[in-house]
């Protein structure tokens, strides 16, 4: 083995990596936010909705959770464009990641919503809250608080999975790596660097989720215990 590592390309390629990482962050934060909203609405539909709605959401969740993200991305990008709906790679990426995140969030939030005790709902009823008020003020926050660790790790997993969007040439971090390595022929070094960047990003996302949790769940912050 006489391989010489050569990281010299970094001198003029580093802005590409920064740009790629920045797009990864943008794509994933949008998808996590939209996916969370979609998933929460679906979870509510799954718990409180009628039987048709419940079954509809159920098949959405099962379809997404039992097929690879790669194929979902291909269907959104290539499939929809062949049906006449032309979307840019970035928009397709956000749509596919959102739909994917939404399905997992549905399952996670459903567990959270179902864990809110009956007495809480009865108390809200006694106070004369409407159904919507009950959901917004009584159910959602405690539900989210309980499943927050699962939501956070799903968010990190989604960030890592966003690397797959490089396959439809959304110019995020992995796609940048593919470009740089075909330019410089230093494949191993390029992917080594990108692996380190992803590691840093996952640490950053964990930190971000922790900080959001601190702001969102004040009760937990004060008492140090989950609800």
């Amino acid at each position: 083995m006489s391989y010489k590592f050569d990281f010299a390309f970094l001198a003029d390629k580093w802005p590409d990596f920064v740009a790629g990482a920045w797009l990864t962050i943008q794509l994933t934060i949008l998808s996590i936010a939209f996916g969370f909203l979609l998933g929460t609405v679906c979870a509510l539909a799954r718990v409180y909705g009628g039987s048709v709605l419940r079954r509809l959401v159920g098949s959405y969740v099962e379809t997404i959770r039992n097929t690879p993200l790669l194929i979902q991305i291909f269907i959104v990008y290539f499939g929809l464009s062949s049906l006449g709906l032309k979307l840019s790679a970035e928009v397709s990426a956000v749509i596919a990641l959102t739909v994917n995140m939404g399905a997992y969030t549905t399952e996670i939030m459903r567990a959270g919503i179902q864990s809110v005790q009956r007495t809480q709902l009865e108390a809200a009823d006694c106070l004369g809250l409407t159904r919507l008020q009950t959901i917004l003020h009584v159910v959602l926050l405690p539900a989210m608080e309980r499943v927050y660790p699962a939501l956070a790790s799903q968010g990190v997993l989604l960030m890592l999975a966003s690397s797959i969007t490089s396959q439809i040439s959304a110019e995020e971090l992995t796609a940048t790596a593919n470009l740089v390595q075909s330019d410089t022929y230093r494949s191993f070094e390029v992917y080594l660097i990108v692996a380190v960047v992803y590691l840093a990003l996952s640490a950053l996302y964990r930190l971000g989720f922790w900080a959001v949790g601190q702001v969102l769940f004040q009760r937990r912050r004060r008492l140090g215990t989950p609800l």
Binding site: E62, N66, L69, I75, F78, S82, S163, T174, Y198, S202
Partner: protein, 215 residues
């Protein structure tokens, strides 16, 4: 342009066999590496614990796609020929081991402490404790989440397509390149994946329910 035909579908089904094979390699490899990892995580020796948890954090913090590229090009650096099946097998093994290691560690920890104490009282050595008392009980706890994780493995074999391994996803791309019917093709590919994964999901859920019913 070639018309999409039943032959194309047959081609996809044939390629699905490689998806199954790759999943099996990844699962077996992951199990062989994952069990020692789980035991290392629970070891009394700090160094072993550190190595195992470092490895797990490393793999769980990088995308599988990057691991794939690294092992594909890494093999080249070591002077081996770039064989996609081997690179894919190695990286899926590394990936599955990290996750199975964590899952199984949780299952071993879930065996009640009293079992450790009782076997201590009987004078069993640590190896005997694991072999006769702890692991047999942990296995029962481990089956539902392990089956659930197999779904992730099957889905993630789709990434092997990017280094040119012709499994189901790559076959879908190849058929698409000649027929250009992406919607139909990728929907069929998705349906085949679904047919592979859904029974596993159902099995995991049923097993889980059965395990909880006993308590």
């Amino acid at each position: 342009m070639i018309q999409l035909s039943a032959n194309h579908l047959l081609y996809l089904l044939e390629a699905a066999r490689w998806t199954v094979l790759l999943s099996l390699i990844a699962f077996l490899g992951g199990a062989v590496v994952g069990l020692p990892l789980a035991l290392m995580r629970l070891s009394k020796i700090g160094l072993l614990r550190g190595v195992a948890s470092g490895y797990i954090q490393l793999i769980q913090g990088t995308p599988l796609l990057i691991v794939l590229f690294l092992s594909y090009f890494g093999l080249g650096i070591l002077g081996y020929k770039l064989i996609p099946l081997i690179a894919a097998g190695i990286s899926l093994t590394l990936y599955a081991a990290a996750f199975l290691g964590e899952i199984w560690r949780g299952c071993i920890e879930a065996v009640p402490r009293t079992q450790w104490e009782a076997s201590d009282c009987l004078g069993l050595s640590r190896v005997q404790q694991y072999a006769y008392v702890i692991l047999p009980q942990a296995v029962r706890l481990a089956i539902p989440p392990t089956v659930g994780f197999m779904v992730q493995i099957v889905k993630n074999t789709s990434l092997a397509s990017v280094i040119g391994f012709v499994e189901l996803s790559r076959a879908g791309q190849i058929v698409n390149n000649s027929t250009f019917e992406p919607f139909v093709i990728f929907a069929s590919v998705g349906a085949i994946y679904f047919a592979l994964c859904y029974p596993l999901s159902i099995a995991a859920r049923t097993l889980e329910r059965r395990a909880h019913a006993g308590r």
